[in-house]
Amino acid sequence: MNSPEFRWVNDWIAPHTRVLDLGCGDGSFLSHLRRSREVRGYGLEISTDNIRQCVAAGINVIQTDLDQGLSTFETDAFDTVFLLQTLQAVRYPEALLKEMLRVGREGIITFPNFGYWRNRLQLCLGGRMPVTASLPAEWYETENIHLCTISDFENLCHRNAFRIVTRVILDAHNHPSMGGRMWPGLLGATALYRIQRR
């Protein structure tokens, strides 16, 4: 796997479970999970080019616009639903999180922490929207329309009575640092969450 955060997520998955990956890209995470955990399930993707790559890898993929919700799927159809580096790009994040926890028993979400100190520095001192390794695009061409901080996300979970089962905060090198544990909102570049319905 090229993204080290996947290693963490991988450890949270029980073998032979049913999974759904929202915004599965080229299917590489599902391919990995299928080998390491023998999971069954589907990826959802909007881009036909990504769908072609998923299909080539033998991954089941359904062309879906996540902004239209997950009405195709039944309640409790999956053990785990993934939303990896995608939350900030969807039109209705709150509705999608609710949908995740309707169709799945557990949700796993990763996103770039907008409150990361480098972002704060660029915004506060530079007066410009941050451009960093995890947020590489300029504001006018980014797909990220709903950026949030760790506090913002946890507030939203609280508001919807989602239970945060596990939280891992990674630094810019994708390591869980001491600093990230002490000041996650400031020193965390990427946030990983496991959430469930209460």
Partner: protein, 377 residues
């Protein structure tokens, strides 16, 4: 290389397979014996594991790819997809395409002689169903000694045929590809078919279907039926781009002849169809399409029908197809998901309407080709 210069071995020759044992049909009748004509492309491997069944659509036949003669103007109807290095790669797969029962293109149908009377069946040919087609194709599979199909593939009615295969013979099919399909026809779909049938049946030359005996052909009716059908295969956009309001003689003639190019195109399509298709077969095919409803065998529960599917499946729709829309394809996909079938789905952006499944659209051939390459033999 143009096909005129191909070595003789690369031309395709249809083969006829005779079946002597009766075939029981859904309608309660049976065919005492029948023939199926088919073509193959690519070699069957030693393990006999690379056979692919191609299912043709309403007016299709066994000639899916390649050429019969150096003089052929056009290759088989799905030559865009089937061939060496193509999406359905004949260097890897042994492709089998039969003509189906009830057709007029070589397999047993209304034009064939009824052994009971010694005359053509005509309108007395039993109304066969997609399930009957699958049974007949399974007999062909047996005759060819193919243990299972690596894939069963079809577009439109052919896609429905593939779906029925996946439900009826789950152990004999590893992959299913269903393109431009619906799980059953809508009232609107049936309505179009009914107008087509009425056009044929009301033709004075129809003679209640016994027109062969009268030395007649209901050509006006069949032509109209095809013209109507053809409109539903195209999109408003593709017709607009192809013809617009272009006139044949750069002025309005103030008469009822074909003034616009689109009128003369449709007339041409209708006339050329009459030369290659039989009216009784057309009636039969439209009825077979109307009757297709795999959920009906499972208390109208499509999910229950899909629970039988063991094949890994690919469903594709086209954005401009208004005959079987993406919404209809998603109905099928949703049922397959509920049944926890291994399925992938994509809507291809294409402007050619229902006929897109026959076109060389890169995005479409890309996804289909990727799926075919992912098949383990």
């Amino acid at each position: 290389m143009s096909h005129q210069n191909l070595p003789a071995a690369q031309f395709v020759t249809p083969v006829t397979q005779h079946f002597g044992a009766p075939l029981e049909l859904d309608c309660g009748r049976s065919l005492p014996a029948f023939d199926m004509v088919y073509e193959t492309y690519g070699e069957l491997n030693a393990a006999r594991s690379n056979a692919v069944l191609i299912c043709h659509a309403l007016s299709g036949d066994h000639h899916a790819a390649g050429y019969h003669h150096p003089q052929d103007a056009k290759p088989g109807w799905w030559d865009t997809c089937i061939g060496p290095g193509k999406a359905i790669d004949t260097e890897r797969f042994h492709v089998v395409c039969p003509n189906n029962l009830g057709s007029c293109r070589g397999s047993t149908g209304p034009l064939s002689l009824d052994p009971a009377t010694g005359k053509p069946y005509g309108p007395d040919f039993p109304i066969v169903t997609v399930r009957d087609w699958v049974r007949a194709q399974a007999r062909l599979q047996e005759a060819l000694d193919i243990p299972h199909w690596a894939a069963v593939i079809g577009g439109s009615l052919g896609g429905m045929n593939a779906l029925q295969w996946a439900i009826d013979f789950p152990d004999q099919i590893r992959q299913a590809v269903m393109i431009a399909v619906a799980p059953k026809l809508s009232a609107q779909n049936i309505a179009f078919n009914e107008v087509a049938r009425q056009a044929i049946r009301k033709d004075p030359d129809f003679h209640a279907g016994y027109y062969y005996e009268h030395g007649a052909i209901p050509s006006q009716g069949l032509m109209l039926a095809r013209m109507l059908g053809h409109i539903t295969y195209l999109s408003e956009d593709s017709m607009g781009q192809k013809f617009g309001r272009e006139l044949r003689e750069s002025k309005l003639n103030y008469d009822y002849d074909a003034n616009f190019q689109v009128e003369s195109y449709l007339r041409y399509q209708g006339r050329s169809f009459v030369e290659r298709f039989d009216a009784n077969s057309y009636l039969l095919m439209t009825k077979l399409l109307d009757y297709f409803d795999p959920a009906a065998d499972f208390g109208d529960d499509l999910v229950a029908a899909c629970r039988h599917i063991r094949a890994r499946s690919l469903v594709l729709s086209f954005s401009s197809d208004w005959r079987f829309t993406t919404t209809r394809a998603r109905e099928l996909v949703q049922a397959m998901l509920k049944a926890e079938t291994e399925v992938s789905f994509a809507e291809i952006q294409a402007r050619f309407g229902h006929d897109s499944f026959l076109m060389a659209i890169p995005e479409y051939l890309g996804v289909l080709g990727a799926f075919m390459r992912s098949i383990e033999l």
